[in-house]
Symmetry: D2
Subunit: 175 residues, 4 copies
DNA sequence: TTTT
DNA sequence: TTTT
């Protein structure tokens, strides 16, 4: 029992600010970040370059929240995979409000080169497919894969196959 | 010039109601739908089955909006690919409010079998990567692909490779 | 430590044949299916409708393999999420060969309506991010989510925000 | 008419070598790269760190091929979105062989910081959803978006909603 | 080998 | 408001 339908978000962008990490009473970490993606285009009439930035609220739980809080910084470039979740809350006037967030279940830091001293830059993921927020610090896998000896081997770049016959490509297609 | 970062959403779910289609002054269609995804789990203490439904606002523009408005119905199952966009608006009290939507750029209808009379069930996509909302009815592709004669052939199922040696798999790994 | 980079495939298509399930010495299931996706277009010169079908080899392990083997059939429509894996093997002449497969880690059956007797149609996923093939029948989560009492509520469709002012859309843009 | 089903690949990884660009008789660029993703884990018995690298063949056409050929280098980190395509070819012995590639339709360079002088690092995409390989240098969109004056505004990070009541989270759930 |  |  898990999922009915698919609810998946993939974001690559930069943090607008340092992450903010809080802890639940039980000690589970919750980290929030704001990530920008943008698109640019030329205005058709003026020819001016235009830009529109979209800000994404991303929330991490448990072990992933700890990693995000520790390694991400304002300006960090990250890959995030997660699910959409719209929360209801009340404003001061008691009115219902809604906020849509991305609940992250995987993260890849993408600028280890530009980082200070971190020799890593890898990817992390939370336990799968449980309705977030989960509470206790996730016991992350620990799963030892244990390939058998005669397992299917990974495939080191095979010798390149002959290129398709490019001369036979249709020539005068204007697109 | 197009995108800085990645802003991608993939949804598979069912429409909660019939689509609503409007038209701009210039005749461009805009269709809104609400799509449900859900996750289910067993309550740890009570053992009771639990369910949480997430509702996604999806907006289509132009040609895709016309197709969505014509073929989708309450209960329809669809695959949607799009981008997140948060819009600002003012409520009656003049206060700023924000609504997050998925701007669809691809749609696949997934229940042609269960449908009434629709003899289709294929996929559609809008022109790529322009800041939505776009205005005029999209001139969809028109792109004629035109493979040359000697192009690389599609690959009909190759003879199955020998299965990996399964007996050598590690046996007693408890996960 | 899990992933460096992202290796993700998403497929929606139909099975060309019934699934084939095998078992390792340790009892772990391995199911193989072949899934078709296709694209259609009009030939630019002749105006003839064209179609190209792509066949995807998909392999499931453990619990997911059992479910796939039991519920999928020739013609079934499925959503698959997985990772690419290229395996090396030797043909009869002792030559190295390579086969690329999708190792599934999530599956959604998409045609419960059209199905025969299956009263389900939900989604399933394997344990995350361990190098496949894994061995023993996966102990799937068991994870009880356990929301606290005051947890953030799911958000039932908020009152619709006012539509963007469509009359102000640019009118005569020919795309 | 476009797609039946979904055939989508998302890769984030590093180039193993410099790209190789060729041109068709008609002048269309075709660029091939090999991109590594990897997963690491600890061997359950020995406790040794293990790593498995997957190599992905990626092919770009037209304008995207030119950009990839010009800006990517051995070691470059990229985000690629594309579709799987398995090509059939004959080896010297006349035997049928199959090679699976990712036909890229979007690319994001992810290491502008580490780059030499490139002040960019943005994303690019080819025209959508036409059966590749296409022939002539793609006329990329040219689509001017042209937002009207009163268009829905982007949403600058809204004031944070109150955090969910974390103290009420269930406390002693061991997962 | 699927699907429309 | 959907779906099972």
């Amino acid at each position: 029992m898990a999922q009915r339908g698919v609810n998946k978000v993939i974001i690559v962008g930069n943090l607008g600010q340092d992450p903010e990490t809080k802890y639940t009473a039980s000690g589970a970490a919750i980290t929030n970040v704001s990530i920008a993606t943008s698109e640019t285009w030329k205005d058709k009439q003026t020819g001016q370059a235009q830009e529109r930035t979209e800000w994404h609220r991303v929330v991490f739980f448990n072990r992933l929240a700890e990693i995000a809080g520790e390694y991400l910084r304002k300006g960090s470039k990250v890959y995030i995979e997660g699910a959409l979740r719209t929360r209801k809350w009340q404003d001061q006037g008691g009115q219902d409000r809604y906020t849509t967030e991305i609940v992250a279940n995987e993260m890849q830091m993408l600028d280890s080169r530009g980082g200070s001293d971190d020799s890593m830059g890898g990817g992390y993921q939370n336990a799968p497919s449980r309705p977030a927020p989960a509470q206790a610090p996730a016991q992350q896998g620990g799963g030892a894969p244990a390939y058998g000896g005669g397992r299917p081997q990974p495939a080191p770049a095979p010798a390149a196959p002959p290129a398709p016959d490019m001369d036979s490509f249709d020539d005068d297609i204007p697109f």
